[in-house]
């Protein structure tokens, strides 16, 4: 770090700017947790229904609660206490334990009981019916089992209230002990709760669960009662906590590791500061942009975005690794800028396509990443150089890196390996056992298997609505919907008889249609008729004649009541069930029929088909899978477009076909290899694999671009090696940690990116080494045209160079006389080899400032060389260096056989800088 006042001022200003931005972001930022932001936008009516209705629908808000740890009687009491406490809670729409007493019929609904109960459909309140009822009531009174009815008899001798209550109980009821629900074994009390908050809102779900815990603590009052809560809401809380917890843990570990790595790599604290600045700027600007454009940032976007910004940390690392004592940091930054900019541009293009993916969460991610990467690139280019001091440290001179580089160079250059790998990878991908894409959203859940099983069991016992299958009735208004539901009743009852389903529920079970209510109303007798019927009925019963006047009054009142509407029902305590079963959507009304204990789906389908076009069977799992598949094909198309754009950008930047190939090949091959490894190990790909593949490709592109840029310059190659080593190690650190997570999303990202980094690094090194065959030798030495006798560089290092040539056989060889070439001209070959070596060492073309001054100890094995069939191999080795002269030895061989060798001295025009 530069310690000049200007530099420190700039640093201070930067930090302050970041602090202000940070404060601003923290004030404005709302972190959302609605997981539906990461679900695709619906396109078909079924999908819309799925996300709007079912996402907030009956099954998703239901929590199943089981109590144990105490004797059943005590559990029953606790169960009752819980219901009493949470009855008016704001967090719960509904909490029930199966208990019903006659006084639990809401007061406002009592007058309507004659219209709501199905009695009047088949009976009339005539003398015959009333007599039978009264006799039964008398016997009830005589039995201690029925005497609890006594207070209600004057108002309701035909027990309409009791019939209503029984009708409102779920069809598949759990076992009852002490009047409340228990599980099959009778050891655990069961309750059902429905939260106000949808399952997709983990924060509110957490609040609801906390309230439930508090209520339990006060209800149990010291008894060791344990509560198990299970449901979609609970799982979303669990998922969010686990993901967040692990992301935080990994983030901390990664940060610590990163700092250590930077210290080891650069050995100065300044470099840590310098690498943090662009990263922090990128993160804060990204947050600010997303906050400004979307209003909220989703938690997953945040977590994911920061790992993607991990790409951005590579930019300052490249700058730091390319430092050299003899160049201004500004100049270095200028040098690197084309490559850096190409890297930034191509990664941004890939993420830009997420804006069109149709998923809001991914669009947020795109904005975050593009903004962040752009800022990181620009701050590295313009913001860091003024802060960087010239350092003596030059990684280009590192012995370790040199040795490493030589070993890498020595690796055989097998072009055909690339082709073989590609073919093998494609074969593995095509033939891998499991399906290619993971369509089942449920597999993304990190909820442990045993909790899911417990949930299933509890739901089965409680008869809660099936999560998967629903019948949806579309009607013009709520009354029409109720009419349709009533019309479907016979079919539904038949399904129960056939055991295709265990039970069903719909709004018309609670509120009959206006037509049904009116029909029943019309069957109610008028005042006088009822009174005379009652008088007749009382004969032969032990009741007092005046006792049932309240009943008469209630019937009379009911004759003029307007039909009960859904809206008024919603305000009652049954409103929670109403809301879940029937809703207004855009001038149409949707009524749902939920099922429990579905055994035969085909029967459901048949019912829906026979019922008409306004009744649809919704298979939530099937629809969600279709949704995911549609989203994915859209994404793949946009990715294809992005790839084309990317290739275009690279092509414009590099302009040479071989260079383009060297840059794109590692990335493309790595993608294939990673896909093959994933598929070969039985992993089905999901959205997060895709995103990670793009991230890994972006990294690979950066590595390849920088290696390609280094080209022939040895020192530059070493510096690039240092940079890419540090970059890939830092990225590996973060993502390798993610691999050990048990959250499927994080694990998918971790595995994919780790594999991607490793293979990209390896392939970039292997495939991106500049092809020395293609370096034009004529550009290195003064000898031009036909006089340039050497054709190909095989290998070279600081001490020696090896070249090959077939020019001895060429008829245009100027040294030939009468179609023959004397062996003595091999000295010229040797001299040119030395010149090439000198030029390669100098690093810049045509800088061979040496003059051959003497040759001695030259031996020849033959006289003529024009007739040698194979290539000549010319080696020149530097034996001795001094400030102004060099001593070389050279050897020429043909098919391993020595043709000539000797020594030479080269005088340098300008002393070499060490």
């Amino acid at each position: 770090m530069k310690r000049t006042p200007q530099a420190l001022l700039l640093l201070a200003a930067w930090v302050v700017a970041l602090a202000i931005l940070g404060w601003f972001v923290q004030r404005q930022l709302v972190v959302g947790a609605d997981l539906r932001l990461f679900l695709p936008s619906p396109t078909t009516p079924e999908q819309r229904l799925l996300l709007e209705e079912v996402g907030e629908g009956p099954a998703s808000r239901v929590l199943a609660i089981a109590l144990d740890g105490a004797p059943p009687e005590q559990l029953a009491d606790v169960s009752r206490e819980l219901v009493a406490t949470l009855q008016d809670s704001r967090e719960f729409r509904l909490i029930t334990n199966g208990e019903f007493a006659l006084d639990s019929v809401p007061d406002e609904l009592l007058p309507y009981r004659f219209l709501l109960s199905p009695t009047l459909d088949t009976q009339r309140f005539d003398a015959q019916y009333l007599h039978a009822e009264l006799l039964a009531r008398a016997r009830d009174l005589a039995s201690p089992a029925g005497s609890f009815l006594e207070p209600w008899l004057p108002r309701d001798p035909t027990l309409e209230m009791l019939k209503l209550l029984q009708g409102w109980q779920p069809m598949q009821e759990p076992r009852r002990e002490y009047d409340v629900w228990f599980d099959r074994s009778g050891h655990r009390a069961l309750l059902l709760a429905a939260t106000e908050a949808p399952a997709f809102d983990p924060d509110r779900q957490r609040a609801a669960l906390a309230e439930l815990q508090r209520a339990l603590a006060s209800a149990a009052a010291g008894a060791p009662v344990k509560m198990a809560v299970s449901g979609a809401g609970k799982f979303s809380v669990l998922m969010e906590e686990r993901t967040r917890g692990q992301a935080q843990a990994f983030g901390t570990a990664a940060t610590v590791g990163m700092i250590l790595l930077l210290l080891i790599a650069y050995r100065r604290i300044g470099s840590i500061v310098l690498s943090i600045l662009p990263l922090a700027s990128a993160g804060l600007v990204g947050l600010a942009v997303v906050s400004a454009l979307f209003g909220t940032v989703h938690g997953i976007t945040l977590a994911f975005g920061f790992t993607l910004i991990g790409v951005a940390q590579d930019y300052p690392l490249h700058l730091l690794s390319h430092r050299r004592p003899d160049e201004e940091p500004a100049a270095i930054a200028r040098h690197l800028w084309p490559t850096l900019a190409t890297g930034v541009a191509s990664t941004c293009i890939a993420y830009f396509t997420f804006l069109f993916s149709g998923v809001i969460g991914l669009a947020q991610l795109a904005c975050f990443t593009v903004a962040g990467l752009a800022v990181a690139g620009l701050t590295t280019r313009f913001g860091l150089p003024p802060l960087m001091a010239r350092v003596a440290q030059d990684f280009g001179a590192s012995r370790f890196l040199d040795r490493l580089w030589n070993r890498i160079e020595a690796l055989p250059r097998m072009r055909w390996i690339a082709a073989v790998i590609a073919v093998v990878a494609l074969a593995v991908i095509a033939l891998a056992p499991r399906q290619f894409w993971e369509n089942d959203l449920a597999r993304l859940t990190p909820v442990p298997e045993d909790l899911l099983l417990q949930d299933q069991r509890l739901r089965g016992e409680l008869g809660t609505p099936d999560v998967r299958y629903l019948l949806v009735v579309d009607a013009a208004n709520s009354d029409a919907a109720l009419g349709r539901l009533e019309a479907l009743e016979p079919g539904l009852r038949e399904l129960i008889e056939r055991r295709a389903i265990g039970g069903y529920d719909h709004a018309a079970r609670y509120v009959p249609s206006a037509a049904s209510q009116l029909r029943r109303q019309q069957r109610l007798p008028d005042l006088d008729t009822l009174r005379s019927a009652l008088r007749e009925a009382l004969v032969g019963t032990p009741f007092r004649p005046d006792v049932f006047e309240p009943f008469v009054q209630d019937v009379e009142r009911a004759r003029t009541l307007p039909p009960l509407s859904i809206e008024s029902m919603r305000k009652s305590s049954l409103g929670a069930s109403m809301d879940m079963l029937i809703s207004q959507r855009r001038e149409r009304t949707n009524a749902l029929i939920t099922f429990s204990g579905v055994q035969d789906v085909a029967a459901l389908r048949a019912l829906a088909a026979a019922a008409g076009s306004d009744v649809r069977l919704l298979d939530t799992k099937g629809e969600s899978e279709a949704l995911v598949a549609a989203q994915r094909s859209r994404m793949l198309w946009t990715l294809a477009v992005a790839s084309l754009l990317l290739i275009g950008v690279i092509a414009c930047a590099l302009r040479s076909r071989s260079r383009i190939y060297r840059v794109l090949a590692p990335m493309a091959l790595t993608t294939l290899i990673v896909l093959a490894v994933l598929r070969g190990s039985g992993v089905s790909l999901n959205l997060f694999h895709l995103i990670s593949l793009i991230l890994a490709a972006g990294l690979g592109l950066d590595y390849a671009l920088f290696f390609e840029h280094a080209s022939a310059d040895r020192a530059e190659q070493r510096r690039t090696l240092h940079a890419v080593l540090v970059c890939s190690l830092s990225t590996l650190m973060v993502f390798a940690l993610l691999m050990i997570s048990d959250v499927p999303v994080l694990r998918a990202i971790g595995v994919t990116v780790t594999l991607g980094v490793v293979f990209n690094f390896a392939l970039a090194l292997l495939l991106t080494r500049p092809e020395l065959r293609n370096v034009p030798i004529a550009s290195l030495i003064p000898h031009q045209g036909a006089m340039c006798l050497l054709e190909r560089i095989v290998e070279w290092d600081e001490r020696r160079v090896v070249l090959e040539t077939d020019s001895h056989r060429s008829s245009s060889n100027p040294l030939r006389v009468a179609d023959k070439l004397r062996a003595i001209h091999l000295c010229e070959y040797g001299a040119q080899a030395m010149a090439v070596h000198g030029a390669l060492l100098a690093g810049t073309p045509a800088a061979a400032d040496g003059m051959l001054v003497a040759m001695r100890s030259v031996t020849f094995a033959r006289d003529w060389i024009h007739d040698l069939p194979s290539s000549l191999r010319v080696e020149a080795e530097c034996l001795h260096t001094e400030a102004s002269s060099l001593q070389y030895s050279f050897r020429v061989t043909h098919r391993g056989e020595l043709l000539a060798e000797g020594r030479a001295a080269v005088m340098l025009q300008a002393p070499r800088t060490a």
Binding site: A101, A138, A142, S143, P144, A145, G146, E150, D179, P542
Partner: protein
């Protein structure tokens, strides 16, 4: 004479409910004939049914009504099953009918002599003398008390004669047990039944 009349009452406080209940115990299974008179503000005249009570264990009671209609009520633990001629059998939980629980608990206590069980649900007091006694059971649970005010079991020596469930609204259900059952007439009022229970003819 007044002294003689006074003598049983002064001894009233001395009767020990636990000992009394212990004396009343009888081995299960036990079967007792009964006649039940149901008095209620809703009724013109009391309802009278007659039948057998069968007790076969601490939570196991059967009430067989044979006159004037057939009705069988079985209590097993917490479940109750009622089967009446011409109707579908019904099952429900015992807690729904505190009167029924009162009947069950009271009877099982009487016949098994399980005082602690009785004291868990009721406040137990005894009045009268060894020859002519009354056991008073008041439900401890406030909600149950809203319906069932108290249970009175009257008898003499070691034979219970009457089992009365008295309701809060003034209604009552009086079960006359054993031999005394035959002495009940339709026109009996609550008061005359009380006298019958207290052993008018003892």
């Amino acid at each position: 004479m007044p002294a003689v009349l006074l003598w049983p009452t002064t001894l009233a406080a001395a009767i020990d409910p636990d000992a009394l209940i212990a004396r009343l115990a009888r081995p299960a299974p036990a079967s007792i004939a009964f006649k039940e008179v149901r008095v209620s503000p809703l009724l013109r005249e009391p309802l009278v049914v007659a039948g057998q009570l069968e007790f076969s264990g601490p939570s196991s009671l059967d009430r067989h009504v044979r006159e004037p209609y057939r009705e069988d009520t079985s209590i097993r633990g917490e479940s109750v099953r009622v089967e009446r001629e011409g109707e579908q059998p019904r099952s429900f939980a015992l807690k729904r009918a505190p009167e029924l629980r009162g009947l069950l608990t009271g009877f099982s206590a009487l016949l098994s002599g399980d005082v602690p069980a009785l004291k868990r649900s009721f406040d137990v007091q005894a009045q009268g003398s060894e020859e002519s006694w009354t056991l008073l059971l008041v439900p401890l649970d406030t909600r149950a008390r809203r319906r069932l005010q108290k249970i009175e079991i009257t008898g003499h020596d070691s034979t219970p004669r009457c089992f009365s469930l008295l309701n809060a609204d003034g209604g009552a259900s009086v079960m006359i047990l054993g031999d005394a059952a035959g002495e009940v007439a339709r026109s009996d009022t609550l008061e005359s039944l009380k006298e019958l229970c207290q052993g008018r003819g003892a």
